[in-house]
């Protein structure tokens, strides 16, 4: 129990500290690296709650794909972040006000939230107890069977986004030397090598 509590406070504290560093560090590359740290600690919190699937997804998707994408964008695009950041602090009071209002609203909504009495009976795939089955296993049991329709539809959506990205960005550029394997193989010795008789002491 003590170890768990210790781990929780460790993960939570590091996650918050990393979050603060993301928005306060001057170097955007450092920001992205702190973001990755925050993601890892959030994944640790998920594991403490017994949601190991979410933890894995967080690391795979957010650290593996999103954060690396950010890193690419930050490093490839020529954006002057120092200029963007100027006057950033003057929005702080207003931002804090908005955050406070949102917090109050959230508390109000949660305080009066009503769940339909039939809701628990209608639950389609109730969460099985954690000591019997891991939640990765439980998700895997339904996603390719009961939810195959949604799974396939999501696949087609990804296919469309792939087609879209290629259609909108792929350009056939002129003057690019491409490798052509058949041409390389079909090349004969006579075309590639020229033998010259070089007389002694005179060069070609």
């Amino acid at each position: 129990m003590f170890v768990q509590a210790l781990a929780f406070y460790l993960f939570a504290a590091v996650a918050i500290a990393a979050g603060v560093m993301v928005i306060s560090s001057r170097n955007p590359v450092h920001s992205v690296l702190f973001l990755i740290l925050a993601f890892f600690n959030a994944a640790g919190l998920f594991i403490l709650m017994g949601a190991e699937f979410l933890a894995m997804i967080l690391v795979v998707v957010y650290v593996g794909a999103v954060a690396v994408l950010f890193l690419f964008v930050v490093m490839m695009l020529d954006i002057n972040f120092v200029e963007l950041r100027q006057g950033f602090l003057q929005y702080l009071p207003f931002g804090a006000l908005v955050a406070l209002a949102l917090l109050a609203e959230l508390a109000l909504v949660l305080g009066t939230w009503l769940v339909s009495p039939e809701a628990s009976a209608l639950s389609r795939a109730p969460t099985p107890p954690a000591d019997q089955i891991t939640n990765t296993h439980a998700l895997g049991a339904v996603i390719y069977t009961d939810y195959i329709y949604l799974f396939q539809a999501a696949g087609i959506i990804l296919l469309i986004s792939m087609i879209g990205a290629i259609v909108l960005t792929l350009r056939q550029r002129e003057g690019v030397r491409r490798q052509s394997v058949p041409r390389q193989i079909a090349r004969r010795r006579e075309e590639a090598v020229e033998l010259k008789k070089v007389p002694t002491r005179s060069g070609i």
């Binding site: 939230w113 339909s116 039939e118 069977t145 329709y149 986004s161 909108l168």
Partner: protein
Amino acid sequence: MSSADVMIALPEIFMAVAGMALLLLGTFLTRNPTRVITWLTILVLAFVFVTVAWETPARTTAFEGMFVADQFGRFMKLLVLLGSGLALAMSTGYVEREQMSRFEFPVLILFATLGMMLMISANDLISLYLGLEMQSLALYVVAAFRRETVRSTEAGLKYFVLGALSSGMLLYGASLVYGFAGTTRFEELATVLAGDAVSAGAVIGLVFIAAGIAFKISAVPFHMWTPDVYEGAPTPVTAFFAAAPKIAAMALCARVLLGPFVGLTNEWQQILIVVSVGSMLLGAFAAINQTNIKRLMAYSSIGNVGYALVGLAAGTEQGLRGVLIYMAIYLFMTLGTFACILAMKQKGRMVEQIADLAGLSRTNPMLALALALFMFSMAGIPPLAGFFAKYFVFLAAVEAELYTLAVIGVLSSVVSAFYYWRIVRVMYFEDAVEGLDRPMEPGIAAVLAVSTAVITLFILLPGAILGGARIAAQSLFPA
């Protein structure tokens, strides 16, 4: 999943597989892949049209109740397939002329149509969202398809950003509803939300879902993207946008409001009345000053959505029948008008100003006559089909005692008659500065012939649309 599930969703599964096969085929074809793939896509759409028309399903659900096939879905799917197929048939010449000749274009249209079919058949909040997103994602890409022109990319980007916002609203609403009901299936939601103690959270969820769908049908106050996207997107894409996606989103709207949220009818009726009045008035007044005919059609489509929502606001079977008839006739009017717009060329160059139509009655009397018929039909002048479309929705509103709504509808339709008449006046009473090119592509001519025939002959043979709409409307109102 069982084989019965597969049989119920067979048209959709066939479309998905055909789309992927065409994509592969397109990469391997060396000679004129766009033209071949376009006609193959039309063939696929026609085949699916026949299979959907063939079966007359009693209401059946598949895939754990996430997918539903019924008469309502059948009617709407037929309209959507017709809209996509005809829009694609009109596009061939334009695509080749305007550097859009890439075979992904018809494939994306096919996938967008597939998304619309899934939207129409959605019986669960998750399948609703996935269908909507499948459609929208393909539409964003085709809007920006002429990527070397600034206006087309601007249209695509604008549509994408605002579309993502509306998807977010819809998802937020869905999460609130799920938080209250504990389920996402439409039948179960209907029983839960019919209870007495419905929390404010669920009603807020309904409002957000309605806002998300209102964006997709471009109803006021979520219409801002429409004129810019319609103007900037390539013309065949605009024709497609105005036809099929509107019908699919309207079908989704009807299915969601009359299905899971039928218990909250009083709540959504208020929303629909405001949205409908706003759309009708904006469609009527904002179109008056337009000089670009594509922008004008954008405002006209906003107004038309307003009229269709009048029928839905009634919340009765009569009203739904009116909506279905309206959307069916609207499909032909829109496609016909856009066929005329696609035929507007001067020396091989596309023009889209209303002033360019001057003197069309002398340079090309048949095209002028057809466009005049569509304009009169849109204005709702009998005996053209547009009159009956409006008649049925206003009748339903009067029967549901929504007198104010019906009166505002009639008045705004009088105002809109003014700008439709302006186009006719330009064509018939102004002299041509520079005439339009005469020869018309066969695809455009065919669409023009079909839609003119439907608009003018509707009064003689109304049975197909009226009867189909009646059976379809009955299927959403279990006796």
